[in-house]
Amino acid sequence: MKFYFFHLMPWPDLPADFDDKSKHPSAWVTLSNRYYDPEKGHLLYNRYLDELEYAEKLGFDGVCVNEHHQNAYGTMPAPNIMAATLIRRTNRMKIAIVGNGLPLRDHPLRVAEEVAMLDVISGGRIISGFVRGIGDEYYSMGINPTFSQERFKEAHDLIIQSWTKSGPFPFEGKHYRVRYVNVWPRPLQKPHPPIWIPGFGSKETVEWCAEPSRKYAYLAVFMPDHLVKWFFDAYRDAAHGFGYEPSPYQMGHLFPIYVAKTDKQAFEEAGQHVLWLYHKGLRHKWEMFFPPGYTSVPSMRRIMSFAHELNWEAMDVKELNDRGYCLIGSVETVRERLVKYIRDLNFGLLLPLLHFGDMPHDRTFKNMELFASDVMPFLKREFKAMEDKWFQAA
């Protein structure tokens, strides 16, 4: 098992009347940036970076940063900047950027260059995630969502070629055309940094990741148990269809985890922060969460058929926890449930969100410390065979 501490860097200071949905239909796109206070932001960014840096001391394999635009849920519009600050303050751990929102940028070679720089500076500690960006961001950035899939695939192809082929060479796409592709620097890792793809809702994405020339890790993000299983099964089926057995390290699970001495204490301490995440930070206007053409009409029909499962606001902490949207409990509870998860789902990457919502700094450190001392080593021992079989070989 590999453990990557995930941080979203949310903006916790929402307006006092945020519970009034008629006034504040979303934490995205339309929530005014007058609620962002740069003086507090200065302290908050540095506090959050301290938490990420602390993960190395605690023995995590790495940390994850990500990209979100113009919202209170996550204040990292430029994840490569976060990775850059972390590289120079850490020595050993991996830094996973999950990921750069390819269709949201007008030039994929900027991503290729920046990630290559980070990989070279860090001595090959970068994991490069690629995402399409969530629906709301197509509103915030004015990018046409109906070309999102096309732009993602084409930008991906251009970036991978720019990292693996000797330049200069021409690239002729529908959305991107460059006469002289010749990216300096080249990434340090060969053939290029590992690619992780966080996903939600699309089986096509899973199959694309599993294709033998890619074998990209697919990350299930904030999914209930049965959907995580459905996607990992789909990944394994796709890999078998391609004629190979996928490594558990091709599958990752990202969700909030909180550990305390007892179940009761854990719920008391974490409950409000989980609710901040699911009731506030993830409050979207449906039409903005799913802009036109972001998913195909058949996929959209399928998503609408399980829309009730995305209605987090109707769920209390217990229900969120029972369904697998988060994991809160004592060391024993958390160990037990993770062991069952990993056994049942056979995945090798765990990306615990150990800070979430408006969790204060001391509580975050406490959660990180207890996870690192009492859960992580236990699971590493428990699943040592997985490591021996798959990771060393890779």
Binding site: F147, K285, W286, V297, R301
Partner: protein
């Protein structure tokens, strides 16, 4: 071309026309000079009272845009210009050399582009609450972010009417949901950004040769009358007429009055 009758009451023909290998659905009825109607963002390709009224005087053709309903060929459509070329191809396929062309909303925009690209293919032009222009400082609401209920009140003067509910609904039938999703996606493809307009169109409207009537719903909450005025200014000889008591969709909301204006203009 494949033809078949679809509605016993109103008795239009439904043609399936191949345009560059993609099948497009076209409703057709009536007799007299040809009149092609390009539908709005709602994809109203079903036999409406408005079409029946027009078909008493004209041979009315109502083609369905690629990407709407069951019409194919969307993968070739990236911009509104692709749609203009598509309709030029469709006129060729249907053997219509120089029909009257009317368009509502999205269809009005396409009609204007068609008349700019192919001035001699349009006999007379009718633009109804047409998208296509940007009026500086005029705020056009974001239709893509609108819920079905919000969409209804943007487009219809009476959004609680049976008519409005037959096009936008919070609880659509599966067929209606498909059309709503497909319409939204198809419109976004050509009109997400720049939003509902072509920045060059205004400067190209001098190319329109056809006599032009501009109709606008008095109570259009979506695209203000300022857009109609700008079309009127930019197309030589064009005349703007306001349709009283209508929102964004005069052919649906005020079929008699709208059809009367159009017939008077086309027969003059």
């Amino acid at each position: 071309m494949v033809s078949g009758r679809i509605d016993a009451d109103m008795a239009p023909q439904q043609d399936l026309v191949e345009v560059r290998g993609a099948r497009v659905r076209v409703l057709r009825a009536g007799s007299g000079d040809p009149l092609v109607y390009l539908h709005s963002l709602l994809g109203e390709v079903r036999w409406l009272p408005f079409f029946e009224l027009l078909s008493r005087h004209f041979t009315v053709y109502v083609p369905e845009n690629p990407g709407f309903g069951s019409s194919a060929g969307l993968e070739r459509i990236d911009t509104v210009h692709d749609l203009a070329f598509h309709y030029a191809d469709l006129l060729d396929e249907m053997g219509l050399e120089r029909p009257h062309v009317a368009g509502l909303s999205l269809g009005g925009w396409i009609a204007a582009e068609l008349a700019v690209h192919y001035p001699h293919r349009v006999r007379k032009l009718v633009l109804i609450d047409a998208m296509g222009l940007n009026v500086a400082g005029d705020f056009t609401p974001d239709i893509f972010a609108a819920s079905p209920a919000e969409t209804g009140s943007l487009l219809f003067k009476d959004n609680d009417s049976e008519l409005a509910h037959s096009f936008v609904s919070d609880t659509p039938s599966p067929e209606m949901l498909d059309l709503m999703l497909a319409s939204r996606q198809t419109l976004a493809r050509v009109a997400w950004n720049p939003y509902l307009h072509d920045p060059k169109l205004q400067d190209r409207l001098y190319r329109v040769k056809a006599p032009t009537l501009i109709l606008w719903g008095e109570a259009d909450q979506f695209l203000s009358t300022k857009h109609g005025r700008l079309y009127e200014q930019r197309i030589e000889g064009a005349k703007l007429t306001i349709v009283k008591g209508s929102g964004h969709l005069p052919p649906l909301e005020k079929p008699e009055e709208t059809a009367r204006h159009i017939c008077e203009f086309l027969k003059a």
